[in-house]
Amino acid sequence: MSTPTYHRFESIIVGSGGAGLMAALHSSKEVGTAVVSKLYPTRSHTGAAAGGIAAALSNIEDDSWENHAYDTIKGGDFVVDQTPVEILCREAVECIYDLEHMGLPFDRTPDGRISQRRFGGHTRPVPGNPSKREPVMRACHAADRTGHMILQTLYQQCIKQGVQFFDEYHMLDLIMVDGECRGIVAIEIATGRLHVFHAKSVLLATGGFGRMFKVTSNAYALTGDGPAIAYRHGIPLEDMEFYQFHPTGIYRLGILLTEGCRGDGGIMFNGKGERFMETYAPNMKELASRDVCSRSIYQEVQAGRGVNGKDFVYLDIRPETINRFKSSPLHKDGKDVDEHFIESRLSESLELSRTYLGIDPLKEPMPIQPTAHYAMGGTPTDFETRVLRNAAGEVVPGLYAAGESACVSVHGANRLGTNSLVDLVVFGRRAGKAMAQYAKSQDFREIPTDADAPTRKQIDTALAKPRTEPWIRIREELQTVMMDDCGVYRNTEGLARARKKVAELKSRYESTGIQDKGTVFNTGLLEYLELGCLIDLAAATVASAESRKESRGAHSREDFPDRDDVNHFNHTFAMRDGDTGVRIENRPVDVVYIEKDGQKVPKYPLEVRKY
């Protein structure tokens, strides 16, 4: 296998989830665009998102994008860049209408508008008592299949528009020349052939990397290829210490039960039958943000109050429970919920429980535990989705990132439920427009004739090495150490242990190879290469977590339990240092100011975060 196949497109989009497809729709209207994806587009993990996508439409309750922005900033424990958040919440509204016009089958209100539901951390000032806040119906939904509908709708529109796809092409390298991105190298999975994609602008939209952890809601494919490959080219990773554990994963499997379960009134109970969220978040209870709920579950388990003394608690969505606690929005109108209502709003969750737990949630509560769910961090970008080269904010010409693989940062230390889908469509759209604009202003710059050489070498080395141990053991050990020592709670000793372990795993990884030496669908080779990405990202995650000596959002240090705004009101940039080292830099948070009484004051002042 010698000469690679050469392609030339003005824009290349890597990844075909929500962000990639949204970008493709907009970029392909302007310039020659191709989508390169290791999965068929409809397999992407956007399809697993369930509960909803937030936008202040005010279809059921009065709301505003400013409310949404405030919630997002508070949800992120304030290390959130405020200009992009305002963009996110303003443009969310028009993006929802765009999606509806594309055909997305949102559920409807009786008067035919898009239906909305409650979700954790989404609030508004209580009418008549604005110093207090109450849950608001902001999450637009299509049953609990919202992500599936978004993915299908965007793919349908790509077909309509004739977008060109390279399905099951796995990106293995970026072509970087003189600090600019000029294309990518990918392997055609069906043949093993290498392809060079020469481009003017490249978007990384490869999704998250939850497979770094043992219990995760993430698909097998979520190995952070984009951020890891960029990192190897000297591009930073931002805020890697902020990794979200979703409170309601199916026990043992980590499969997600949507937050919509709690939005529609579901209650969490410990082993003693107590509604423990009343203690941890007296106002919002189960609708506190995800980091708060996950920590509460951990604390219950630690205190021996898990169910049967085990490491799980119950999520109860039985109508009689919801009616007993009057926890559904229906109770505001004096109505009770019944089985039919639960079935129609949460059918996917019911099905997941019935299939994987053998439990009918209409009759019994479901055992749940926190599951690694979402990377707030990733490849840093500005709000035009241009990738940043350093903490000073210089951009990498030609390189863009969006979606979970990117860090804009709109989620800060903890993302609110539904905001991942908002991020995809808002910044996916911005990426498509920005990269097309840039491509139009540029000529194709030269790339080396052997642009695929490093990739060729990487593959040949992997194939030539003997299999000294099954690489799966390395992955399992990585997932275990990350879960135990760099999970919901962290401390100095655990992080030091994790740092040493990850370094050991990297060296073991480099000395072992794979069994399959073939070229056609060598999935063993690809999983092995994906593991290499996870190891590099894990090293950056641990180093970032060590550097943040405070507790904020999803990052909880047992040895530094308080938030420290004096020393840590900033972003973490992890830079690769040599082959295994990590160097940490910091970048200030983008704060929006307003004029008040003739003075410039922060629009979203820091406050103690309570729910």
């Binding site: 999965l39 409809t42 399809g47 016009h101 089958p105 009786p110 898009i114 099954p470 073939g518």
Partner: protein, 257 residues
């Protein structure tokens, strides 16, 4: 406590199984052949877990597609003990006997082991105009639709394009040119959407000689669908629309006009 222990009793209930896989490597084999692996599995394991365990621990050259592992991405459709299913949706405890036999879905060219060429399947899907057609200028907010109109096509929005239905369909086995149940399901999803204006064109496409009339109402598609879609019913509704010339969609309620 082990991860695989029963959450109530703490006991591990291992099962000894034989995994029988139809192997084919185009770089080595002239014909597909069967290979057996011995493995211990937990009753609550997915068939996908069993396959991955064998791949990781015994032979990493086994080729299969997988991604979400909980029945929503549609990657791992395969024939398991003679029936199409997603490997991630079938639990070991629901498999009869001590042998799990897996082979690629039928009717599409096999590339390697459990991986088939999906291109003919997606070509059929793309042929039915699987996208909303509405050339009216869009309003500044959403187009209105009653809950009843939305419910009319709810079932067919669940499709994940896994191909379980189409590759369980005897007419499709006999003739790969037949558009197949999955494409009809996706046509149905738009034909019965009150916001859509492309029903006539889609019905014309399905009226073709390789179109909907190849359906012999075998119901294999319905029993194969891992999403529980009433595939045969959807096909019948499209047939009825073709015969009667009427697309039966609930009227707009007065509140919307």
């Amino acid at each position: 406590m082990s991860d695989l222990a029963d959450p109530n009793t703490g006991q591990i209930r291992w099962r000894d199984l034989t995994l029988r896989i139809k192997r084919y490597d185009p770089e080595k084999d002239r014909e597909p052949h069967w290979q057996e692996f011995k493995i211990q599995a937990h009753p609550m394991d997915r068939v996908l877990d069993v396959l991955m365990k064998v791949k990781w621990e015994q032979d990493d050259s086994i080729a299969l597609r997988k991604s979400c592992a909980h029945g929503i991405c549609g990657s791992d459709a395969m024939r398991i003990n003679g029936q199409n299913n997603l490997a991630c949706k079938l639990l070991v405890q629901n498999v009869k006997g001590k042998t799990i036999t897996v082979e690629p879905i039928l009717g599409l060219p096999v590339i390697k082991d459990l991986i088939v060429d999906m291109k003919p399947f997606f070509d059929h899907y793309k042929a039915v105009m699987p996208f909303l057609v509405n050339d009216d200028p869009a309003p500044t907010t959403e187009r209105l639709q009653t809950p009843e109109q939305r419910a009319r096509f709810d079932d067919t929005t669940k499709c994940i394009l896994c191909a379980c239905c189409t590759t369980a369909c005897p007419p499709f086995w006999g003739n790969r040119e037949y558009v197949g149940p999955a494409a009809i399901v996706n046509a149905h999803r738009f034909i019965f959407d009150s916001r859509d204006q492309g029903a006539g064109e889609r019905l014309d496409i399905l009226n073709d000689s390789e179109g909907i009339w190849r359906c012999r109402t075998v119901f294999n598609c319905t029993s194969a669908c891992p999403r529980g879609i009433q595939v045969t019913q959807a096909i019948s509704e499209v047939k009825r629309a073709l015969i009667t010339g009427v697309v039966d969609i609930p009227e707009e309620a007065e509140v919307l006009s």
